[in-house]
Point group: C2
Chain length 467, copies 2
């Protein structure tokens, strides 16, 4: 048999790599069979004269944003949340379709707000729907990890882009295991939330107001050189936040009415929770992506979010419309005796990190994450490379040293996803599917494929209408 001396690679990169390893010249061509039924939509959108400039504008606006932590305060004051109003992760959903972890978090939050004494009694409240209402975080300038439930008494980080004054928000991270965002609502969960609202939040507020804004985008730059991908590894980011706030925390505590024991408790809590910074990484990503919203003709994804039942995306050129499909089960590693049957489908606004080019998109810079989410180190490196095939740009501020400082792949392009069939790679925590359980594992997941052809069809419709 004669080996070919030149091959045109039309499949996945791994195939091209395998051929290259056989010492054959390879010309890589990023063509693969498009997703079924997308040919007409792809042709229409490709011909949209607005597309190129719109996407360039979307990328430019996104990359220009500097996310600064400027304040901390309760959601009642910061977002104007009223009693009975519950924010949640993902696209809109009603109680009857809500998954276990979202229900668990809503029940716990109802007790936290004093609407019921016992979380277990909260079901009827939501079934009746009187005096309570549900709304996505994304509709209120916020993002929430996992269930993402926000109620008036919860304290939130406030991030601002100094150039535009635009703001985004996120609650304070509770830590791992039995926590509200994973659907747990035991007394210890609510006690912790009360301490966060009574001590941690006000102390952080005093520190931020005294120290001045903290450069969250800058910390993200550093942490991506320190083994964090800022979705499921936030250890270095958390430590840098602590470094930046600890002196002011110490100095401002007494005037804010807190003791040195309170300060020590706060430092111990933040330092003991490697995920604390996630709740700053997420609104920083949303702040960047929000700047790219509502550009007619742009095919760039500006949000990916899950409510535990549905996975939804929003696209710059299609306004606030959600394109949804069923949330998938992650493939990964489980805590203790938990297994795949215990896991809820994918949940949370945290896929905003992947939407901005970090998290699963930046796993090459955080190879140690495979010990948490599964997969191998070569997989992690290959994933980041593969995501460049479906994105519009590299982010020069967020680079991956081991890939010779290449910027992370950012700006998911609906047309590239449809044209290649390559789905965005998300890494994620897994919540127990039963309300009250908490975290059961972590793993890798993708959006349901159909959301991209649906979004493409809408983009094509709008392109045709604009013609």
């Amino acid at each position: 048999m004669t080996a070919p001396d030149h091959v045109v690679g039309v499949g996945v990169d791994l195939l091209a790599d395998a051929i290259e390893a056989q010492a054959v010249d390879v010309t890589r061509v990023d063509w693969r069979p498009p997703m079924p039924g997308t040919e007409a939509g792809l042709a229409t959108v490709a011909a949209d004269p607005r597309r190129r400039a719109a996407n360039e504008e979307a990328v430019a606006r996104m990359l220009r944003v500097q996310a600064m932590l400027v304040d901390v305060g309760p959601a009642s004051a910061i977002l104007g949340l009223e009693p009975g109003h519950f924010l949640h992760a993902g696209p809109p959903i009603t109680w009857d379709r809500a998954s276990g972890p979202l229900r668990g978090a809503l029940m716990g939050a109802a007790a936290l707000e004093g609407l019921v004494d016992d979380p277990e009694d909260a079901g009827p409240l939501f079934e009746r729907g009187q005096h309570v209402s549900l709304e996505p975080c994304h509709h209120r300038g916020a993002v929430g990890p996992m269930a993402g439930v926000v109620t008036p008494s919860m304290w939130m980080f406030v991030l601002e882009d100094p150039d535009t004054g635009a703001r985004t928000h996120c609650t304070l991270n509770e830590g791992l295991g039995k926590v509200l965002r994973y659907g747990a609502y035991a007394p210890e969960v609510l006690d912790r939330l009360r301490w966060m609202a009574g001590v941690l939040g006000p102390l952080l507020q005093a520190a931020v107001r005294s120290s001045g804004p903290v450069d969250v985008t800058g910390i993200l730059t550093q942490m991506l050189q320190m083994g964090d991908e800022a979705h499921n590894r936030n250890r270095a980011g958390t430590l840098m936040l602590m470094r930046d706030l600890a002196p002011a925390l110490v100095s401002a505590a007494a005037d804010a009415g807190f003791t040195t024991d309170d300060v020590a408790d706060a430092l111990r809590f933040v330092g003991g929770n490697d995920h604390f910074f996630l709740n700053l990484a997420m609104p920083a990503c949303k702040l960047a992506l929000d700047a790219a919203r509502d550009i007619p003709g742009s095919t760039m994804v500006v949000a990916m979010a899950r409510n535990g039942t549905d996975f939804g995306i929003q696209v710059s050129g299609t306004g606030d419309e959600w394109f949804t499909g069923p949330a998938q089960l992650a493939d990964g590693l489980f805590l203790g005796d938990y297994g795949p049957d215990d896991a809820n489908p994918d949940i949370g606004d945290s896929a905003i990190t992947e939407t901005a080019g970090i998290g699963g998109f930046a796993m090459a810079t955080a190879p140690a994450i495979v010990r948490l989410v599964g997969g191998s180190v070569p997989d992690a490196l290959a994933t980041t490379r593969r995501m460049h095939e479906i994105t519009l740009a590299e982010n020069p501020r967020w680079s991956v040293p081991v890939l010779e400082f290449q910027g992370v792949p950012t700006g998911i392009d609906v047309t590239r996803v449809c044209r290649t069939g390559v789905l965005p790679q998300i890494n994620t925590g897994m919540a127990g599917r039963v309300a009250g359980v908490g975290q059961v594992g972590a793993g890798l997941v993708t959006p349901p494929a159909e959301v991209f052809p649906t979004a493409l069809a809408r983009l094509a419709e709008l392109a045709a209408a604009a013609d």
Copy 2:
């Protein structure tokens, strides 16, 4: 031309890699021409019946050590240093042979201790040699970065292995730029050292005594997964130390007589100095290597150290004997307008990190370091792989995620260095060659090749005598 279908690789790995990339089966053989004149010594040492077990014992003892930070205190109390006694980095040296940065640090330290009013007046003190004496840090259970000067009033970390009670020591890190260890002695340098002795040291002492021991070996495990190689990148390590000590620092300050402003200053100083943890990484490495000392027949290097004039190594099987050669100039990147002519030859005990398998040996885990010390990311990866050729073991506790969690190469073997000609790779800061200047850059350097054949000859002599 017919391509060979099997090649026996006898050269550098990069060649083997290139051949492998051409899809030819490669059998790697770690043979290269030995260093000139070492054939007889290699044969004698290879035949030493004690060698294999001695090296296994050396590796086992080294890997067993757990370095815990157990106390902080002044060198006068901790090491019993008397006025006029100066410790320094590297093998023994006298004033007349001392380089600029070592002289600068000694002059500054003489003023710090009140032996002279002005550092510039200290020269005659050392020239006469009356009432002053110089001794290597290594001879007193200590290590010092760069000039490594230690005097009675300087505060030191105390590290202990709980299994054996063995201890090592190191001063507190001053930061970068104009600092004593780089040979600077301006008033700001001495003021900072006085604040460190008056405030920072006692605060850290109070914190460590109140929090209990800090697991330095454990922090090293983590930081190697966070972009630090623990010689010239210690950012994550510094932040984890701060995380572990900050709560106790806050709680213990008042009883120790310090204000919240003092605490905030201490947190700001440590948080603002990414190299702070180096002075814990170094004595942790020495503690591990000291456990491997004095094993008859062992060819393992237990110290590499430089005084700015001489580079010296000590070997387990040859006791306290130093094998020395001229310290080399590093090749690297320079600060501001400095260039190669401004740099002093290699200086400091910090090569203890490479001796233990981190620093230059672990650059694969810290690719961002090439922006500080020069070279490319592929070089950094290749360096760690190459160091496995001259070491006896991998350290399972200190692993490199991007190399699929392979342990760092540890336990430099004099015979492997002589047999392959591959020299240990050190990365290092560069001091200005003129006393008083401070740091001028950072780069890559190796020991002078001749120290290994000299050590081998002595090992052969001892092997023959034991026969």
